[in-house]
């Protein structure tokens, strides 16, 4: 008997899962709305900022070239481990009040990540908050909580420093997956919140003796969200039972094509590449 034939006794959980996809989309919309609203609020908002041409993948959206709403953001976000830009004065921000739909209850959710009113010292701590905010919000919605009820305890009203500094990281994290051709094309255009990623891992490929021309060739390079890049790296390093001891070690004696196949698969699984 296949597993799907026994799922009827899981009805409550299945209903939760069925509601999930719609809720995730709603969450992404709301977070983007928050980011957009905050972006528009910036004093240096320029309605004449160039936009991507109609018909292009991002047709109609603002581009970051030439300043505009995002020009106050760091052109190149600091790397984790570098000195943090933290501890600076806390910006005064208007409070957001968003009611999306009435409360529908839901199962208990763990305490939200605390967002202090001023950035904590240490880039590592700031990045942790940025990661936790998105994950907690998504997890909360997946457990059936209405988004409006999640925003309050998250302290988003007080957490604008997060968006001021890390908006590119968060919005790139929430961006939909792209085709391989799009990701490869993006390599030529640096964007805040993104990294260039090697589909076949660079260090491991070098250690295995693959030529640099292949490792750093256009076929092997893509531009992806930095947070998703971290997820991919974690998947290679994570101890697990299915590719023991870690995927990175498991691939050590594998061919280029096998490494590439798994690299592509992980990009799909982490929501970076369109299936």
């Amino acid at each position: 008997m296949g597993w799907e034939h026994t799922l009827d006794r899981w009805d409550p959980y299945l209903q939760e899962l069925l509601a999930l996809k719609a809720d995730i989309l709603a969450t992404q919309f709301i977070v983007r709305a928050l980011i957009l609203r905050e972006t528009l609020r910036k004093a240096n908002f320029d309605p004449n900022q160039p936009r991507s041409p109609a018909g292009s993948p991002n047709g109609g959206q603002w581009t970051r070239e030439g300043g505009g709403p995002s020009s106050g953001l760091p052109g190149s976000l600091p790397q984790e481990g570098s000195e943090a830009p933290a501890g600076e004065s806390a910006p005064q921000r208007p409070r957001l009040h968003i009611e999306i739909w009435p409360s529908a209850g839901g199962p208990p959710l763990e305490a939200p990540p605390a967002i202090p009113e001023t950035p904590p010292p240490g880039l590592r701590s700031q990045l942790r908050i940025a990661r936790d905010v998105v994950r907690w919000l998504v997890r909360g919605v997946s457990m059936g909580h209405p988004v409006a009820r999640l925003l309050g305890p998250l302290g988003l009203e007080a957490g604008f420093w997060l968006y001021d500094t890390y908006e590119p990281l968060i919005s790139e994290y929430l961006a939909p997956p792209k085709t391989l051709a799009e990701l490869q094309q993006d390599v030529q255009t640096p964007r805040p919140g993104t990294d260039v990623h090697h589909i076949v891992e660079e260090a491991a490929a070098k250690a295995a003796g693959f030529p640099a021309s292949r490792i750093n060739g256009p076929e092997n390079l893509v531009r992806i969200s930095r947070f998703r890049h971290e997820l991919i790296n974690r998947e290679y390093a994570r101890a697990n039972r299915t590719f023991p001891p870690t995927l990175r070690r498991y691939l050590e004696d594998k061919s280029w094509d096998e490494r590439r196949e798994i690299g592509i698969q992980i990009m799909i699984e982490t929501g970076t590449l369109k299936p």
């Binding site: 799922l7 990540p113 240490g122 998703r228 299915t242 590719f243 699984e269």
Partner: protein, 136 residues
């Protein structure tokens, strides 16, 4: 030590200490470790993340070795509110209850690509379905 380092996770009992734990203590410890694993993931602290994985394996072996295969005490945790606890409990009880695989499939079906639990569950389910991993 800078502020970020001071936030690093502290632990860990040794194997002998786990051997001396009661089933009840092990359940509490299992939950605490799983939550710390979530925290380690937030910091992208793969060293701690993997270290906890190894301890969870020690716990699993210890429970299996107890009379009557006591891994079954982890079955209720399959429905714990914390997703990491659910995942770890499901992986630890695959050989003792069909509910474990059901939960793994449910977690794997979550459309939340940034959840490490979803990816780990997905890989586990694939490995089981392909016969690469046989829980014992």
């Amino acid at each position: 030590m800078n502020n970020a380092d001071s936030e690093r996770i502290e632990f860990i009992p040794r194997k002998e200490k786990i051997k001396k734990m009661t089933n009840e203590n092990i359940i509490e410890y299992f939950i605490a470790l799983s939550k710390k694993r979530t925290e380690a993931d937030s910091y992208m602290d793969i060293y701690t993340y993997n270290k906890i994985y190894k301890i969870l394996q020690v716990i699993e072996k210890e429970l299996k070795s107890r009379p009557g295969d006591q891994r079954s005490i982890l079955i209720p945790l399959i429905f714990h509110p914390n997703l990491q606890v659910r995942l770890n409990a499901s992986l630890a009880t695959l050989a003792v209850t069909p509910d474990a695989l059901m939960m793994l499939r449910a977690i794997a079906a979550l459309d939340v690509a940034w959840e490490p639990e979803q990816i780990e569950a997905l890989h586990s389910v694939e490995a089981i379905d392909e016969g690469r991993y046989i829980p014992t």
